[in-house]
Symmetry: C2
Subunit: 390 residues, 2 copies
């Protein structure tokens, strides 16, 4: 069992109407704020007006950067970092989903250096030692960016999609008001759930010995997602469902359930290669890959973890033979993702063919080995892609 | 469902050997440290020497206050606050269990005011707006003081035992090394477990609607305690068991599982009146009271929560009639506390008679109503005491 340092000093304002604290929170970092957001949904739901009102009441000087795209691009980051420098920004306020938050984190870091922000992510891997303070207002439960210090940025020129964690990019505070997710579509709600499930399973499927307590927490989060996603899809303004999904999205990936586990992730790096090329919704890509990856990694040496998963999360009969329990667990998960949530289940359905399999697989393993629950080489990943085809 | 603010910026160094970070952590607050501890067990296990070595390596000037008693007294607090003022202390380092940590918190607050620290706890309820920085090294898994901003102090002169929460008293960092709990006796391990169970049940038994996710987490912690306490009692140096209990002790009471629940606690205020007079171990007092309190509060309006508890924590057959499931849950809990852990199960066994029942009950409800899962008046509490007798 490995040692670890737990350190997540994000202040979270959780619940309906907590936005009333926005002004006092943001203004403690200075007077000049860069407000970042995506495609305008925050205007449709009236959140933009509320945020502006709170900022004005607090006497903030507001600069704006809109149109941050899903799978956010390095161009937005460059623009935001530039604006921070030009306008002597004191604090960044990201209002949106994971894409807006992720991009804003790298803007905040980029504002503190002279080089191109892409150097944080390319082979230069420039150090991230400082970032302007970041506050977030979340409108989509999925990536957990509101309570972690990481982000993923795409570079369409190089067909790269690269993630990085750096403590200075941890938000100072995040506002989680479940009502801001009422307008999230059935489809995006489902994709968000798939993303959260994957965050948990990337940590849960691990043969390193770690704290049983954390396994219990992960099982609890999986049960929460399984219980409430269908409710949120059927009743978009069900507060209880949206609230449970929202708080789960943060805890699924803020580092707490990691404990001392060192093992690298598998499905995320694989999916990133797909969405670097195809611009598929991240959660959907994960939904398609995850059950196949589970199937591919199942053997006598790993079966015990699958048994725990199937019994504790889906209530599979613990008296069956282990391999049968394990397969039942995978079957239940697939049914949840593809029947209950109605997500597309194959590459074929989303128009992904074999053409880039070998490139994507090579990139995912860095031309060598993708370490994780089971270490995977290029051939392994290509086989998993084949399983996803239809 | 109520809103809430989540804000627990304690840095936790978890695992064997993490003490190597002690010097860098403590020295960032200044050079003059007040080291506080209890009856000398930290010398027996060699921890005292390790701590001194780390502090010296970091160039700290160390002042010491030893002999902080279980159910810590206001006298220790007064002495510590005085020492902080005299020696211009920059940071307090509490090494021990909950008693040492609790007392140290009020010393840190007392160091910043001119009045008697008891004024923080008596009817004056003096504001706590500042405290010197506190770092803790934990040697007993029970009270959760290492990750919360509260403490409980006794005043033998007035026979009062009073608790208070105040954000400035939150530790900056806590060192949780499970090996430091290897020497905790079977009996204290059991009492610590009973304390943790009570912390969880005080929040769990609640009819306010709150996040299902948090219920899952609480059930996970209860299962963790039930699984690992007997192991830690049988094999005191079982790292896995000690580690699970240690991290659970923090999360059982750091405020996270509260979510937006407003409901006050019941068993703790009742137990505090007992240990204010009898100096019984806090966890043991809670063990005796809790199942009786559960029994007393069970009725048609509350039974659903008992059913959830019995089924999810103890695997009681969910198809039985609800009242039967509820009673089975209480029976399982009693069996765990009094058979598996071997704790004394009645007041009689610990020499508590009826003589102070009415005084203790009156104090527990402040002469009026003790609000909680079920509101209890003096008579109710006396009835619960009667149930505890034998």
């Amino acid at each position: 069992m490995n040692s670890f340092i737990y350190d997540i000093p994000v202040r979270v304002y959780f619940g309906e109407g907590q936005i009333k604290h926005l002004g006092e929170e943001v203004s403690q970092y200075g007077r000049r704020v860069l407000l970042t957001y995506g495609g305008g949904s925050i205007k449709r739901i009236g959140l933009y007006d509320t945020v502006m009102e709170e900022l004005q009441k607090a006497g903030m000087e507001v600069y704006e950067l809109a149109d941050i795209a899903p799978n956010p691009r390095i161009d937005s980051v460059r623009k935001g970092a530039q604006m921070c420098k030009e306008h002597h920004i004191d604090v960044l306020l990201a209002v949106g989903g994971g894409s807006t938050l992720d991009a804003t984190k790298f803007m905040a870091a980029g504002a503190c250096v002279d080089h191109d922000p892409w150097d944080f992510l390319n082979e230069k891997w420039a150090p991230i030692v400082k970032a302007l303070p970041i506050v977030t207002v979340l409108t989509l439960s999925a990536t957990g960016s509101e309570m972690d210090c990481g982000g993923v940025i795409s570079n369409p020129e190089t067909q790269d999609k690269i993630g990085r964690l750096a403590p200075p990019m941890l938000p100072k505070a995040s506002f989680l008001d479940p009502t801001y997710t009422y307008s999230v579509s059935r489809y995006q709600t489902a994709c968000g759930a798939a993303d959260m499930i994957s965050h948990i399973l990337e940590v849960y499927f691990n043969m390193e010995q770690d704290l049983y307590m954390l396994d219990c927490f992960m099982e609890g989060m999986l049960k929460t997602i399984i219980k409430y996603t269908p409710i949120a899809m059927a009743e978009p303004d069900n507060y209880e469902a949206r609230a449970n999904l929202m708080w789960t999205s943060s805890w699924a990936i803020n580092g707490f359930v990691n404990g001392g586990k060192q093992q690298a992730w598998s499905c995320h790096p694989i999916e990133h290669e797909i969405s670097a090329i195809y611009d598929i919704t991240h959660g959907l890509g994960l939904a398609i890959i995850t059950p196949r990856w589970m199937e591919y990694c199942l053997d006598e040496s790993t079966v015990s973890k699958y048994v725990q998963f199937a019994v504790n999360v889906f209530g599979v009969d613990a008296t069956l033979p282990p391999m049968e329990i394990a397969r039942e667990g995978i079957r239940h998960l697939s049914e949840f993702l593809f029947k209950t949530l109605g997500l597309q289940s194959t590459f074929q359905e989303v128009n992904i063919g074999r053409e880039h399999f070998s490139t994507m697989a090579r990139k995912a393993c860095g031309g060598n080995i993708l370490p994780g629950f089971k270490h995977l080489n290029q051939q392994d990943i290509e086989k998993i892609f084949e399983m996803c085809l239809n």
